[in-house]
């Protein structure tokens, strides 16, 4: 009996025993679905993190001078308490660092909080309200769609003007021109001077639900204690210049804080690298857990198939006897049962690949993650799926092949 014949026979058997075959392939199905789905989602997150998240939140060639890191994976309580005891970054710190860096950089202050914005009896809750300096727009790559950004003079003098995101503009002014209108943040009036072009979403959160006012304007009272900023943002034009700028910033801060060489920094210079390190940490965990889960479900799937095949051999002992009496050799019987278990597993694998791809498409459509199915994962799914079937089938099939035809024929 040739391989084709064995496959045809296996297909026929599976078709006549749909329910049993269905149960048999579940383990492999889940394993391969997980393999394909998780792989594509991790891929998507990875791309997202590198391309968008890091770039948007922190920016390219940019670092933030902060009291404590903004991205804080796995931090214990004592570290948190230590961070909370650190002095804040003051206006004068920010001014001194910005003035002291000698490599060409642009800098901006940033202090943010989630605050409600009102106008015309309408309100936007939990808007990201930022007190900043004039180059904030440039550093953050914010394009002014309407009106203008505030000037250096306005920033210095703390004029109560505001530049708003497109969602805030749409909600408060519903298509009418917002420029020159007055909105209120915690009761304080601000004149709208600009609207930023629409940016879309990040992790499902709107990037257009914000307002930026000069740091020295009354907005300071809403976002931070007096004279304190969340961060000084420093953007250089290359990685090397950024590193130099960071060294200088660290030196300036250490001398301002009178830190001895033995003392650690009581501030942090955070780059997008930090975010990516954080992500790499998560990824490392996923790369351990992921294959682990896939292996476990494939092993379980293999055991299920082996059991079902052993059952099939026991049930079909008489059939095996008949086939042997008609001239089936050991190899023929072996092939027949191997083909069956391999087909069950391959079918499970194929369904898993299909479901995994659908899962990835679903993630792509429903979330901002650019999940992409890697061809490598499909190949691995096919190989692992079929391989599990063959391995799981060897023992039952060889038992079937070794049956004595006389004994097998006597079986009721």
């Amino acid at each position: 009996m040739r391989v084709m014949e064995a496959l045809r026979l296996a297909f026929h058997t599976l078709r006549t025993q749909k329910l049993k075959s269905g149960f048999a392939l579940i383990g492999v199905f889940i394993g391969v679905t997980f393999l394909i789905g998780a792989w594509s989602i991790v891929n998507g997150i990875n791309q997202y993190m590198v391309d968008k998240f890091a770039g948007t939140i922190i920016g390219v060639n940019t670092f933030h001078l902060r009291r404590r890191p903004n991205f804080t994976p796995n931090v214990d309580d004592s570290t948190w308490r230590a961070w909370a005891r650190r002095p804040r970054i003051s206006f004068s710190d920010a001014e001194a660092v910005a003035a002291g860096i000698t490599v060409p950089v642009i800098t901006a202050w940033q202090s943010s909080d989630n605050v409600t914005i009102e106008a015309n009896g309408k309100e936007v809750r939990d808007a990201d309200v930022t007190g900043a300096t004039e180059r904030y727009f440039e550093i953050k790559n914010l394009t002014i769609a309407q009106g203008r950004a505030f000037s250096a003079q306005e920033a210095r003098r703390g004029v109560p003007v505001v530049v708003i995101g497109s969602e805030v503009a749409d909600k408060l002014y519903a298509g009418r021109d917002p420029i020159g209108k007055t909105l209120r943040i915690k009761g304080e009036p601000y004149r709208v001077i600009g609207v930023v072009a629409k940016q879309g979403k990040l992790f499902g959160f709107s990037l257009d639900r914000f307002a930026v006012a000069p740091a020295r304007s009354p907005v300071q009272d809403q976002v931070n204690p007096p004279g304190v900023v969340d961060a000084l943002i420093v953007k250089a034009s290359s990685v090397d210049e950024m590193r130099d700028a960071m060294d200088q910033a660290e030196g300036i801060m250490r001398s301002r804080r009178h830190l001895r060489p033995s003392q650690a920094d009581n501030f942090v210079l955070e780059t997008s690298e930090g975010v990516l390190t954080f992500w790499a940490g998560i990824q490392k965990i996923l790369f351990v857990i992921g294959p682990g889960l896939v292996t476990v479900s494939l092993v379980v799937g293999g055991i299920v198939i082996m059991n079902i095949m052993l059952m099939a051999v026991a049930e079909r002992t008489r059939e095996i006897g008949i086939r042997k009496s008609l001239g089936a050799r050991r190899a023929d019987i072996l092939r027949q049962f191997l083909a069956e278990s391999a087909m069950i597993a391959t079918l499970g694998g194929a369904l898993g690949i299909g479901t995994g791809i659908m899962l990835s498409i679903l993630v792509n459509v429903a979330t901002p993650l650019p999940a992409t199915v890697s061809p490598m994962s499909i190949l691995l799914g096919v190989v692992l799926g079929g391989g599990v079937g063959v391995v799981a089938g060897v023992y039952p099939a060889s038992r079937a092949a070794r049956l004595d035809p006389i004994v097998a024929l006597r079986q009721e």
Partner: protein, 243 residues
Amino acid sequence: MSRAQEFRTGDTPLPDIIILTHKLTRDYDMGSEIVRALRGVDLQIHRNEYVAVMGPSGSGKSTLMNLIGCLDTPTAGEYWLNGQKVSDLADDELAHIRNKEIGFVFQTFNLLPRASALHNVELPLIYAGIGSRGRREKATAALTRVGLGDRMDHKPNELSGGQRQRVAIARALVNDPSILLADEPTGNLDSTTSQEIMAVFGELHRQGQTVVMVTHEADIAAHAARVVTLRDGLVATDQRKAA
């Protein structure tokens, strides 16, 4: 009909002798004791003979049947089938002999329940390595020969006992075997159907088929031209009917 050969170890059977056993012995090791099922059976069956093997239970007829059918190998002695010494062949070679030389008909039919009559008859051809078109042609011809040309797509449970046994006969014949080996072929059939099946056997014999049949029913054995009776693992009587 034809004379027996004076056979000694080292001889080769005459071409006319299709089955030759020489001091065929089969012991079963049952742990505490050794059961001697066959104690040296000498039997010669010529081409186109119709032989019934009889004997009470425990006489060794099933053991002889298994040995002749190449499902088992003897403890000692020789077994020649169609000019080939098969008593010392290995498993897979025996499978090949079963496929090419022997057509089995069993008491319980032994059809695959989920397969159609046609597929059941095709089975030996699959193991003979014949392609699907050739199989279909041969299986169709065999089923037509036993009068089931119009039942080819029926599953065994859609057929009567007699029809099932006809499917089994068609399956036994499909590979043109040297011998048709029937083990109590009418054991599960009523007397009318038994007569029908015996008529089929008679017709096959007339067409030149060698038939060996194991039975314990004297009236069934009476259809054969020669009746061999076993007792205690030895041939007790060997009677030929006058032609």
